[in-house]
Every structure is written in C-alpha cells, then in structure tokens.
C-alpha cells in the first residue's frame, strides 16, 4: 500500500518517540547500561546462568561489581518510592556466585586486526578497555607498576569487601583472550612513555590516582603520621602494616571508612574518624558509615584538623569546630570556630582526604586531564585517557564505563571512523519513562544482606557480606516492578494481541508487513491515547490506513466480514426504512 508523505511523517514520530524500548530507571542510571531488569527477572525465574550471561554481555566483572559497586542504579529504582530500592548489587553478586563458570566464558574474538594497543594501568578502566579491544580483534598489552592486577579494586578497596580471589578469577579472562599483562612495569621508570606512543597504534592511559593528598597541619612531620592510600596499598599487597592502639583518621569519604575499618582489623583498638562535613553531608555513602560504626569506629563529623601533638612521635590530635565547608558561591572554603577545640589521644594519624594522579611520566606538553569528554581522546591523536587519572575520583563502575568509551574511540580511530558520532547515549542518562505507581502495589521489604559476625571479623580480612541464598535472591528479584512504558498495550487488547508496541507495529506498517485486519480491529476508542505519555493519536493512524486500503480496493473494505454492512447501509437509506416528519405543533413564542 502507498502511504502519503504526511502519514509516513506521523508514523515516524511514533517510531522515534514511542517509549516502548526506553531503558528502565535502573538501567539508564547505570554507567554501563547493564540490563538490570533483564537479569533480575531471570534470577526471579531461577535462570541464574542466563542472568549471569546477560551481565557478562556488557562486562566481565559481575562478581567484582556485585560486591563493591556503589550502585547508582538503586538510587533511581522506582521501588524506592514505595519502601526501598531493589537490592540490585546483591542480586548481581548472587548471579555470579551461583552461575559463573570460567569453563563457559565466551572467549570468542573478532578476526585479528594486526593493531597493537598499550594500556597503562590494570585498574577497572584499563582492564575494561583491554577486554573490549581484545574482543574486537586488536592485540592489547597492559603495563602495570604493581606486582598485581586490579588497581584500587585491590590496593584501595580492602579484601574484606572484595576478596583477591574474586579479582584474580574475573581478571583471568584477559589473559585467556590473549591480553599480555606486564606486571612490575612502571611507565616512566621501566618503560618510556614516548616509546609506547611510537611503538603502538594507540595508548590508553588509565593510571588512576594513587598519591595521597596531604594538608599542611602543624605536626604532620611527626612519626606515626600516615597516608591513607599508602596504608591501604600495603594492606592490599599483604605487606606488614604497623599501627598503634589509638588511631585518628582524617577524612569523611569512603576511603576514610576503609582506612578506619582496615586499622581495626590490623590491631587498632580505638579508632576515630573526623571530617569537616556534618553528619548528613559526609561524602561517604551512608551504608559505609553504618558498617564502620558497627565495628565500633567513632565518628566526629564537623571537626577540622588544628594540630597534631607530640614529641617526635604522634601523641594526640587536636580539632577545631568547622562551621562552614563551602561558601555561598559553592566553593570549598572552610570556616572554623577556633575557640571550640577538642583533643583526642592518638598513636597514629592517617590522612584520607583524597588522592591525585601522578602523570609525570608524560612530557609536560600532554595534559591527560584535558582529554575530550565525549571521546576520551587527548591532544595527541593516538593517546586516550580515562578513569580516576583524568580528574575527579570515580566509582569503579564509572571507571569501567570510561574503559568502554575509550575502547570504542580507539577502535573507531584505528578504523578511521568518525569518533564523535552517536555517542550521546553512552554512560548514564535520565530515563524518559513516566511510570506512575498505583497504590495497590504491595509493600515488600528489602532483603538485608547477612553479614559476618562482628567477633569473626577482628584480626582478619574475611569477607563481611555473606551473599544472598537462593530464597533471599528470589524474594528480592520478585520486588522488581518491571518498569516499562507500554501503557497503551496494557490498556488495549488489540494492540497487545497484534504488536509488541506501537513502535514495533508501525515499523512493520512502514514495511507493509501488517495484516489489514489489524487496522480494522481498532475500536477507535482513544484509550491508548489517554494512557500514552506522548498522547499519540494511534486510532487516527489506523483510520488513515483504513482509508488507503479502501481506496486501493475500489472503495470497498478489504475485510470479508464487512460485506454485510454494504447491504445494511443500502437498506438504511431505502424508503422502506426512512421517514422525515415535520413538527405538528408550533413552539410557544411568547
């Protein structure tokens, strides 16, 4: 059938703007856009292996993310408006625990391209880029200064949150795919950056941020003052860490919590954490603070460092009350009440206020922080940068998303393709869904993660979170509201019967692949339009399609069942069944 230009335009509008395939809130907020609803549903159906495979389609680190992902998805979960967000992170770990089997990993690769790529740093950004690029047929070499892989996943995040075995197992896919990992190779010392730039087709700089930021405080040169990043690195590398009984940690972020909880495990008995921010503005996630407090760590929100007391060795730490962290313009500009002081006895003071990247191995002309945000390409066309080293501290999942982005850019670059085209939907974005909750939705309590007993945590790095069992996972998966649009489909029996969504249906309409009966099965009731957040006038399209079919069928409906109407119509107009009667009495016209 021949569609008019106008109708094609209207149909295209539906195809383009119909929300039927819009990602749910969770997925759109995931920097990796993992199909959360998909795997949660599969878990609910007991199909753990398929659930795992769905996650692995996007990222080969389900067990890592299932343990430490800061889950921005859960912040957007619609369930949160009823009682609490779905426990998405824990369900991911469950899928990995239940079904991940290296024997079944997909190790397929595109044909060899002959291109060589150097990646500096084996953290999540570097590893993800290596995985994607090796899969695409390129040959990747990773250069890592430490004797282990994982980056901050291993030398930042302590093993009681993410066991080394999980990292090693999931990272092993890289070597299985043929990635060469060179450990103990520091770029700038063991290898020259310029050489990499020249010898490889592309270089991805993903060196993270490992140098602790220090602030000039009186007494910071005393023995017993430590850097948080250094402290955690030693613990992560299983090196001996010496610590006194009383420890003060400075900083209110997640790193400070990990430092404090690690100190507790290696022998400290009284641990204080102080930060400038007040309690509900602490940068650490609320659950990190709660877990630390459970282990007896004492929080001092709203206190800034004044001086470290002691003679050669640290003996105490004095704080002053912080009255403002940011000024009205929103700039970091702390203000203190110098009269309100408090002093805590301490053997060690550990600074955990931030890390910065060391990129001194690159010559001064190249500033890796100035990579293009859309493509992660630097001023030097074959050098790309991503992860923690290009500016602000990221979440692990964001670092992985950078890795993916860089891999996509590098692949395009190596194939001489346009780097900037169609990249807007990479990473997290805001879902256009407009799901409205009905008040009938029953309340289903979020299932808590079981944790190792407190006594069993002391003096070791055993994993604290125990993972869901099958019953817990099934229960949690059932809480998913399966957010999607398809409001029209829920309302209209006929659309439901003949299509997956209007988007899908009208794509077929354009290709003339739809049975005309469909157009003649619309009740013209507008119920779909009422339900549609876009107010699409779907019946109007069916009406126009009917008209075309009739026109192309000599003025008659092509539907068999409509033959009778022709006769009814003739009778309805015949003299036998019609009459016109004038009024028999006049209206009073007063």
């Amino acid at each position: 059938m021949q569609l008019s230009e106008n109708l094609v335009r209207e149909i295209n509008e539906i195809i383009n703007d119909c929300l039927a395939d819009e990602s749910p809130y969770c997925q759109s907020r995931c920097p990796l856009n993992i199909d959360v609803q998909g795997y949660v549903t599969l878990i609910g159906e007991g199909k753990y292996r398929q659930a795992l495979e769905l996650i692995r389609k996007t990222i080969p680190f389900p067990g890592i993310l299932g343990r430490v992902c800061a889950h921005p998805c859960e912040e957007e979960c619609k369930r949160g408006e009823i009682e609490a967000a779905l426990s998405i992170k824990n369900l991911k770990r469950f899928a990995a625990d239940m079904a991940d089997d290296p024997e079944k990993w997909d190790l397929s690769r595109a044909p060899e391209t002959g291109k060589k790529i150097a990646i500096i740093g084996a953290g999540p950004a570097g590893a993800t880029a290596a995985y994607d690029l090796q899969k695409k047929g390129h040959q990747v070499e990773i250069f890592e200064s430490l004797p282990v892989v994982g980056g901050m996943l291993r030398v930042g995040i302590p093993a009681y949150r993410l066991p080394e075995t999980v990292i090693d197992r999931e990272y092993s896919i890289l070597e299985k795919l043929g990635v060469n990992i060179h450990l103990n190779k520091e770029v700038g010392k063991d290898i020259d950056f310029e050489a990499l730039k020249n010898d490889y087709d592309a270089v991805f700089v993903a060196v993270g941020a490992h140098d602790a930021v220090m602030i000039p405080v009186e007494g910071s040169d005393l023995e017993g003052v430590l850097e948080g990043a250094d402290f955690l690195r030693k613990a992560g590398l299983n090196q001996e860490v010496k610590i006194g009984k009383k420890v003060v940690v400075i900083g209110g972020g997640n790193v400070a919590m990990d430092v404090a909880r690690t100190a507790w495990r290696v022998g400290a008995e009284e641990i204080h954490v102080a930060c400038l921010e007040c309690r509900n503005e602490m940068p650490a996630h609320s659950w990190e603070v709660e877990d630390a407090e459970e282990e007896g760590i004492i929080m001092h929100p709203g206190w800034g460092p004044q001086k470290i007391g002691g003679n050669k060795k640290v003996e105490s730490m004095t704080f002053k009350e912080c009255t403002q962290v940011f000024d009205e313009a929103g700039n970091f500009n702390p203000d203190y009440c110098e009269d309100n002081l408090k002093t805590i006895e301490a053997d060690n003071v550990i600074f955990a206020i931030g890390q910065r990247a060391d990129t001194s191995f690159m010559n001064e002309q190249l500033n890796i922080k100035e990579v293009d945000q859309l493509t992660l390409q630097s001023e030097v066309e074959n050098v790309f940068g991503g992860g923690d080293c290009i500016g602000k501290p990221l979440l692990a999942v964001e670092a992985m998303s950078h890795g993916k982005k860089a891999a996509e850019s590098i692949d395009r670059y190596l194939n001489s393709k346009e780097l900037t085209e169609n990249r807007e939907e990479e990473g997290a974005y805001e879902s256009k869904l407009q799901k409205e909750l009905t008040r009938e939705e029953p309340v289903r309590r979020r299932i808590d993660m079981r944790m190792l007993n407190l006594e069993e945590r002391k003096n070791n790095f055993k994993e604290v979170e125990l993972g869901f069992n099958t019953a817990e996972a099934m229960g949690e998966a059932l809480r998913c509201l399966e957010c999607e649009c398809k409001e029209c489909i829920k309302e209209c029996i006929m659309l439901d019967e003949y299509s997956d969504s209007p988007k899908e249906l009208f794509e077929r309409v354009k290709k003339d692949e739809v049975d005309p009966l469909v157009y003649f099965s619309c009740n013209m009731c507008s119920q779909c339009t009422i339900a549609c957040p876009n107010d699409f006038e779907i019946k109007d399209k069916f009406m126009q399609l009917r008209k075309i079919l009739v026109k192309e069928n000599n003025g008659e409906s092509p539907i068999k069942g409509h033959n009778a109407i022709k006769w009814h119509q003739r009778l309805g107009f015949s003299k036998l069944f019609t009459t016109t009667r004038a009024a028999v009495d006049e209206e009073d016209t007063k």
Binding site: F520, S521, N523, K547, G561, Q569, L576, F577, D585, E586
Partner: protein, 255 residues
C-alpha cells in the same frame, strides 16, 4: 404546516432495538418542546468507520438535505456516535444530546422517583465516543438519580471509560477480538445489571454476559428489579422489523 424548530434523530441502533422507546421520546419532546420534528435515516457513519470517505459524504448529504427540508436549526440525538458525526458534519445546526437536555427540561411526567423501591444496583457504562462530554455523563447520572436507582461506577468510567467492543466496526471484522473487549469491559462491574445510553453498547454488554438495559428502558419502561426479565439479543431480521415499526410509530405520533 407548523414550523419545525428542531428535529429528533433517534439513529439506527435505537430504532432497531425498541420502536416504543423512540415513540415515547418523541411524545415527551413534543410535550416539553413543541416544534419538534423527527427523521429516521442513517447518517452513514458505518461507511466512515470503514474508511469509505467518499461514500460517507454522499450518504451524509442525503441526511442533511432532509434536515434542511424541515428547516430545523437544532438536532436532538440519543446516540453518541450520531452526536459526533452530526456535530462534525452539520455546521449550520446546533446538535444537542438528549442526555444533556433532560436535566434542563425535566423528567417525563410520572417518572420521578419511580424506582425508589427497586432492589437493583445498576452499573453505568459510559460510551467512549463522548468520553470528553462531562455534561452528558452528568445528565445520565442525574436521570438515574431522579428515577431512584442505586448505581455502581466501574474503575474506568466517564472520561476514562473503556470501549464496549463495538466501536470501529470491529464486530464484523474481528468478532473474537471484539468478544474479548466486551468480556473485559463487563468484567469491571461487580453488579450483574448494567445501564447504557447507546443501543450498540447495550448489545455488547449483553454479549459480555451481563443483564443490560438502555437508559430509555428505565425512563419509559417498567420499574426494573432483580426479578425482571432483561432484554436479550435480537436477530438481524428482528432489527429490520423494528426499524420498520419505528418508522410507522414516528409517522403516527407526528401526524
């Protein structure tokens, strides 16, 4: 000859359903609004629904010339489909629904509170074609209240009402689908007894397994109770016989 100020057009489905009701409406209008004539003729909507626009235009022109012949400047309709078709195609005439008119001119003599003793709770099914006409929804509820029936509103009602299944000529094209739509609609009601204000909707509700009457049955018929025998489904032959009878009755009351 008296001047015909307005004309009542009962529509095909009502006249195929029960000729007496058409007769009663004309008597009522004659009484309340002298100067009312009537026309029995199809408006051609079915052709329009099928997408046969040229045929529809031709058919409607036939009806329009009858209206013009009488010189009426107002059309009164008792069918929501007629309401829409005529509003769109007779720009010179004002189109009024009987259901918005009744609250203005009052209930027929002797009907007020007549069903106060009825044990029925009647579910109200609104026509989807006039879902945006609040005055019609209100008129229907006003009438039911005047009569004294208890009513039930389904989850989808008034502007959010669901199609009865008859719309868009789906019944002859895709009867199985239409049946599903009908069943879903009737499934929304707790009560077994429904009232519609469109004869086609009434038929759909009956096919959907409920006992259904037209609101004119309630106004001009007996007092309905759980003991009453509700009308069923007519055959096509019966429908045409009824239409013929309607014509005769119209000719009788307007002579």
């Amino acid at each position: 000859m008296a001047k015909t100020k307005r004309v009542f057009i009962p529509g095909c489905s009502l006249s195929s359903y029960r000729p007496e009701l058409v007769e009663e409406v004309i008597k009522y209008l004659k009484n309340k609004l002298p100067g009312t004539g009537a026309i029995l003729k199809c408006c051609g909507k079915p052709t329009k629904a099928l997408g046969q626009y040229d045929k529809f235009k031709e058919r409607y022109a036939g009806l329009q010339s009858e209206i013009d012949k009488l010189g009426a400047d107002e059309i009164i309709v008792a069918c929501q489909s007629c309401y829409l078709t005529m509003s769109a195609n007779s720009p010179e005439q004002k189109v009024t629904s009987l259901w918005e008119l009744m609250p203005e001119i009052g209930m027929p003599e002797g009907t007020a509170a007549k069903a106060e003793k009825s044990d029925l709770t009647i579910g109200v099914h609104d026509s989807c074609s006039t879902r945006d006409r609040e005055d019609i929804h209100n008129g229907i509820r006003w009438i039911l209240d005047q009569l004294g029936y208890n009513t039930e509103e389904p989850p989808h009602t008034k502007e959010n009402t669901r199609c009865c299944g008859f719309g868009g000529m789906v019944v002859p094209a895709n009867p199985d689908l239409a049946q599903k739509v009908m069943d879903r609609r009737t499934g929304e009601f707790e009560t077994e007894h429904l009232v519609t204000y469109c004869a086609a909707c009434r038929e759909s509700m009956t096919k959907g397994g409920k006992k259904a009457v037209h609101i004119l049955d309630l106004i001009f018929g007996p007092v309905w109770t759980s003991e009453s025998e509700f009308p069923g489904l007519g055959t096509p032959i019966e429908s045409w016989v009824n239409r013929y009878k309607t014509k005769k009755k119209m000719q009788k009351v307007l002579s």
